[in-house]
């Protein structure tokens, strides 16, 4: 049983190191969003672009660009106070796939403003794509 357990941990480590779950989530969400006629070819195109982006250093087209982040923030902040609560912030990061439910985020007690939110989302997205 030792060998089986260590292979399992090895597999999990592999998944974490290469950020496979995030990549698969991204691929599945783009498939369902754009609904191309030939899903395989579309997937191949995205993966090729990703590979070229990594080689040549060109910025990879992010799924959520700036205007989307702003709209998301405004949806969570209907009264236009300019800040969102910590719970909302955590939920939003989870929805975007940028943090796992187990991850403990620092609750500084202050509310999160648009700039904080945007910076955090961008930072995490870059972290993920740097792996590819």
């Amino acid at each position: 049983m030792e060998a089986a357990e260590s292979r399992e941990t090895q597999a999990r480590e592999y998944l974490r190191k290469h950020r496979i779950p995030e990549l698969l989530t991204y691929l599945t969400s783009s498939l369902l969003f754009f609904r191309p006629e030939h899903p395989r070819d579309y997937l191949i195109t995205i993966l090729e672009r990703l590979r070229i982006a990594k080689l040549t250093g060109i910025a990879f087209p992010f799924y959520m660009d700036n205007s989307n982040i702003v709209s998301m923030f405004e949806m969570m902040d209907p009264s236009n106070r300019g800040t969102i609560s910590f719970v909302q912030y955590k939920e939003a990061l989870q929805t975007l796939g940028l943090c796992t439910p187990d991850e403990v985020l620092k609750d500084t007690g202050r509310s999160i403003s648009l700039d904080n939110f945007r910076d955090e989302v961008n930072k995490r997205t870059e972290e993920i794509y740097a792996t590819f």
Binding site: Y14, I44, M72
Partner: protein, 479 residues
């Protein structure tokens, strides 16, 4: 986003697209391959894997005692599915000249080679182009648990495992009649499978090792090993009795390897029940709605509710009801779309009956985007329908509904005052059934993936058939 204050509204096209293109299974196989091989550069690996496009090629293992007909079945399956056959003989045959002489001598003597070498041979063979493109069928490998485990740890996983079984006495007797054609390698039998052409007949030789003692010895060995191999393939195994004509065994094996297994993909059922009046559609729909929390969309009921609620549509529909005329399609469709657009029917799925009644209505339903993903036709013979419907009675005092055969009223007093609904008279029922059968051929052609069931059984049996039709993936078409 806050899922609590504003619930997520996923557009209905997304799950439909996902189901139609089997996205879940696609991602699942890709992840499986990634985990098995764990390449350093996952992106290039995934590109290569997607380009191969071999998720659906056959990957079959056939196991069974000697004389059960494994090789015959394996060869026939190969020809039919256009795949590659791997057996101990043809794997070794290719390597025979490259093996060192000592191992060659050992092989020719005992017909066995060390497991490690066998697994390596299999691995190399499976890496070749034709196995990747057209799949593979392993005949009689693995023979021992050790081989099974080694194959598994190398990442070679079959999708279907067929185990042939028969009584030992049958097998020993059968083996005595085995004959082999030395040119093609095909196996014939003196009683069961004698070749028609006389030149093949003249060529046949008696293979070595088929005496009773030999067969009994091999059977003992087989029984010892197979018990340990079967647990390695829990959900993909099927046992077929080899004590029947070859053709029957072949067809059972063929149907099995062509079915998909139940997948974990998220699935909202959108079920359509079709059948003549009295076939049990409303009952099945009610059972389904109760068990799986689907929304029960009964066309007639919706229209009656609209009229009773005096809604905008109700006012338009009422004159048709009063004159006992059929409500026009456009109105019906409007009421239906209103119900099907509710958030709960999109999320939970629906079961519909009473609509569409002919091909035009079915077209309309499709173009609006409410395609069902499971369609059932309930077949009930006319006599049963008449029996079911004409014996219905209602008690005017309590409102209870009785059936003179299946749910008779308890006392004579009640029975005396029962009344029959004029719509349940024999002529009316015959009219309605005729109307259905006139349009059913078109409907069956339109819904090609429909499942036909025998509705002439008790309701819970029919319900079980419906359930298995919904839960199991739709059968693959034979190309």
């Amino acid at each position: 986003m806050d899922a609590t204050t504003a619930p997520h509204r996923i557009p209905a096209e997304m799950p439909q697209y996902g189901e139609a293109n089997h996205i879940f299974e696609l991602m699942q196989t890709m992840l499986e391959q990634l985990l098995i091989h764990q390449p350093e550069d996952p992106v290039s690996f995934m590109i290569k894997h997607l380009n191969r496009n071999n998720d659906n090629v056959p990957k079959i293992i056939i196991l069974g005692p000697p004389a059960s007909g494994k090789t015959t079945i394996a060869m026939w399956l190969c020809k039919h599915l256009n795949s590659n056959l791997l057996s101990m003989q043809n794997l070794i045959g290719r390597e025979l000249q490259f093996m060192n002489p000592e191992m060659k001598r050992q092989y020719l003597r005992t017909k066995m080679i060390p497991s490690a070498l066998l697994v390596r041979l299999i691995e190399d063979r499976l890496e070749e182009e034709d196995c990747i493109k057209r799949g593979w069928i392993l005949d009689g490998i693995p023979e021992t648990r050790e081989q099974a485990l080694t194959i598994q740890s190398q990442g070679i996983i079959p999708r279907h495992v067929v185990v042939l079984s028969a009584l030992d006495t049958v097998l020993i007797e059968r083996n005595l009649g085995k004959r082999v054609d030395p040119q093609t390698g095909e196996i014939y039998h003196t009683t069961f499978d004698w070749p028609p052409e006389s030149d093949i007949q003249n060529r046949l030789v008696v293979p070595p090792g088929i005496s009773e003692m030999e067969t009994a010895r091999k059977l003992l060995e087989y029984h010892r090993n197979i018990v340990r191999i079967i647990p390695s393939y829990p959900k993909i195994l099927k046992v077929i009795s080899a004590d029947q004509p070859c053709v029957d065994v072949f067809y059972q094996a063929l149907t099995y390897v062509q079915t998909h297994h139940r997948s974990n993909a998220p699935f909202t059922p959108r079920v359509l029940l079709c059948g003549p009046t009295g076939s049990g559609k409303s009952l099945q729909a009610a059972l389904l709605a109760q068990k799986y929390s689907l929304v029960n969309v009964c066309c007639g009921q919706l229209l009656k509710e609209a009229v009773a609620d005096k809604t905008q549509f109700g006012e338009l529909i009422r004159p048709f009801f009063e004159k006992q005329m059929v409500v026009p399609d456009s109105l019906v469709v409007k009421v239906l779309t209103q119900r099907l657009d509710h958030q709960d029917s999109i999320q939970k799925g629906w079961v519909m009956h009473g609509f569409p009644r002919d091909q035009d209505q079915a077209h309309m339903l499709d173009t609006l985007g409410y395609e069902p993903n499971r369609v059932f036709f309930l077949n009930v013979p006319l006599d049963s329908i008449i029996e079911r419907l004409t014996l219905r009675r209602t008690d005017p005092v309590t409102g209870e509904r009785y059936h003179l055969l299946y749910k008779p009223p308890p006392t004579m007093e009640i029975q005396a005052r029962l009344l029959q609904n004029p719509k349940d008279s024999e002529e009316q029922v015959k009219l309605k059934v005729d109307l259905f059968y006139r349009n059913s051929a078109d409907l069956e052609q339109f819904y090609k993936q429909a499942i036909t069931l025998n509705g002439d059984q008790d309701p819970y049996t029919v319900f079980e058939y419906v359930e298995s039709g919904i839960i199991n993936p739709l059968p693959k078409k034979v190309p």
